[in-house]
Amino acid sequence: MNDWIELSASPLSTAAAVEFATDPAAGGIDLFLGTTRQEKNGEGKSLLALDYEAYPEMAVSQMRELAARARTQWAILKIVLLHRTGRVGLGEPSVIIAVSTAHRAASFEACRWIIDTLKTEVAVWKKEVWADGTTSWVAGHTIEIPS
């Protein structure tokens, strides 16, 4: 199988993602990590972590479909698409995407398309956890469905 798609409650491994994406026919591998960025809220409280929640069956099926849609647009050797659930601390990755291709341009384009599309479509939500113990759901992208 040439795609590794997973929703995981445990820390994501960059090394494992690169190992999976490595391919003797590849000239380039692009890897993207989305990491929790330190922030302050309107009241000056610091962000401690992000809590991720998913609709697991749907999110995994959407992630598989994203990989399949990427393959219709670019000549891809391997795709890794891993997303965390649960608490993700500052600097830790909540998502890892790796795409290997024969020529580098496609690896950059496909990797960026996957993260951009994932953010607007996949059934995953994050809640900010602040230093004072309060939490707030991130505003997010409304799904538009033709009725």
Partner: protein, 81 residues
């Protein structure tokens, strides 16, 4: 017929439940299910307006007709990544 409603993120927190079983007349639409949910959980009114629906793990319009044992998920704006 029986339909399972799944709530996530802000909807789950506001309603205080993650799953609701609804008894609906045969041929009910998603809209009818949402109206019934709001009877039990009026606090969801604002958030539901911005939410999408997924029927058996695929996005669906609110005009979709439900079948017995369907799983209807209420999907607030997504924020993965």
């Amino acid at each position: 017929m029986q339909v399972t409603i799944k709530l996530f993120a802000i909807l789950r927190e506001k309603a205080g439940v993650s799953t609701v079983s609804l008894d609906l007349p045969d041929g009910s639409t998603v809209t009818a299910a949402l109206e019934k949910i709001l009877v039990f959980h009026p606090v969801l009114n604002q958030s539901l307006a911005k939410s999408a629906c997924a029927l058996n793990q695929a996005y669906c319009p609110r005009s979709a007709v439900l079948k017995d044992r369907d799983e209807l998920a209420l999907i607030p704006p997504v924020s993965g990544g």
